[in-house]
Amino acid sequence: MHNLLVSRVGIYLPIAEMSVNMVILLAMGGAVGFLSGMFGVGGGFLITPLLIFYNIPPAIAVATGANQVIASSFSGALAHFKRGSLDVKLGLVLLLGGLVGSSLGIYVFAYLRRLGQLDLIVSVLYVGFLGSVGGLMLVESVRAIRRSRNGGTADLRHSGQHNWIHRLPLKMRFRASKLFVSVIPVLGIGALIGFLASIMGVGGGFIMVPALIYLLKVPTNVVIGTSLFQIVFVAAFTTIIHSTANQTVDIVLAFILMLGGVAGAQYGARVGQKLRGEQLRALLALLVLAVALRLAFDLFVRPSNVYSLVIGGI
């Protein structure tokens, strides 16, 4: 039965050089697309680990994940652009940092791959970032939910409350975000996300969204559009660099994931609009923590086989 299903819908991936089940990949793309539409993140942090669980070689999963992220982010960014909830200026400054970080990341990626430690670093980065971001978001959103239950305001923005970031020099005005802030942290966040994007195959939305909200105090409604806007460019840059440096982008695999993802994202966005901001953040936090736990499990629990093969010898 299982064999029959596989044989009907199998498709051969030209770069990964393996036959996979198209229905599973479409469902994977659809589910991730639904979540990404709901939370306004690209979904790369979900798709790349899922592909690795599905036995796609990590190098191909990372590069193809970046390619897939473009489609869902572009679709989302268009919607936010029309609605006016996108700060193009802030996005461009973030992007500038992002391109520098991404270029650096590609070289580190190739180096780690030669060293045989790519899987480890990718897992450690995922566990570290997803774990801390998810944990922080969960704590914050639960507090916000409690506050709103007690009749208070759940808004994050408290006028007059400034942190050290607001004392840095080189200030710039971002009108759409109602923000007057130094470009240093903006470039820094952009660079960090670009770096992670190329190593982890993610757009970095799951880090960008909380960083913009909590560190820069950008209004939540502008955050998602702006984050998606810059992710489109960073993911596009990462895809092109991975194709030229490593030839690891599988266009067929990416396309199947996109088809599922784009459809799923539209439904996710509708569900997302019905939920309150703090509820949405709490759910995203739980999702992020779940992925981090799953990856941590692989890192700390004895693998079923301690030996692994790399065919072709890189």
Partner: protein, 264 residues
Amino acid sequence: MRLAATAMAMPLLLLLLAGGALAQLADAAPEDIEIGLSTDTVFITSDFRGANLTIFGALDDADPLIQRQGGYDIVAVLEGPRRTIVVRKKTRVLGVWINTRSMVFTDVPASYSIAMTRQPQDITDTPSYQRLGLRIPYLNLRPLAADADPQAVEEFTTALRNRMEESGLYTELAGGVQFLSRSLFRATFHLAPNVPVGTHRARAFLFRNGVFVKETSAALTIRKAGAEQRLFEFAHQQSLAYGLLAVLLAMITGWLGRLIFKRD
């Protein structure tokens, strides 16, 4: 007159007989095997999900007595292209499982399927298999580093064999070769969906009463065809254009998705 002719012919006949005996000594086995493949090229297209490959063979000039006793055995092998393979071992460092040791093997068959007429131990003994490098446990696998510690070599070689068997790339099938008649035989191999692309070699080994007699081989090409092949070449030869295409495709898909599903 007639007598004289016979007398003259006698030494010639003797010479011929002696020559025949000598030839038989030099080439103790008159048997010969030949093989042919059901196809010499397997094309991988988008719907490829494995394929069957049949090796047909003929046993020529066999000794009828041995044939009747079932003394002939065939071992057929389908060997994938040779690749360099790195075997890595994870150990626990500070509670985390990390790849700490590795060994590089060169010229490792990327796939290896072996089929036999009977159980391997009924065909010949272990030393013969070892000498011929036949069967998975006796495959000739050598590490790149000549001075590697023998104990480590043993450990990593075993791991390499086990992993290849687990992934279905190395298989062994007793009874996979059948005699269709006294002299015709057939071996069927299944090519897995993840069969390595490249030139494979089909080999057939003939054994007579447990003694290796002769080997023959034929080549099989497995290659991607159509769109798969073009995409692969495109990705490798014009990687920048390929990357740009991938980005463009993603943007168009995202845009179309919005057009189709949008409600605002």
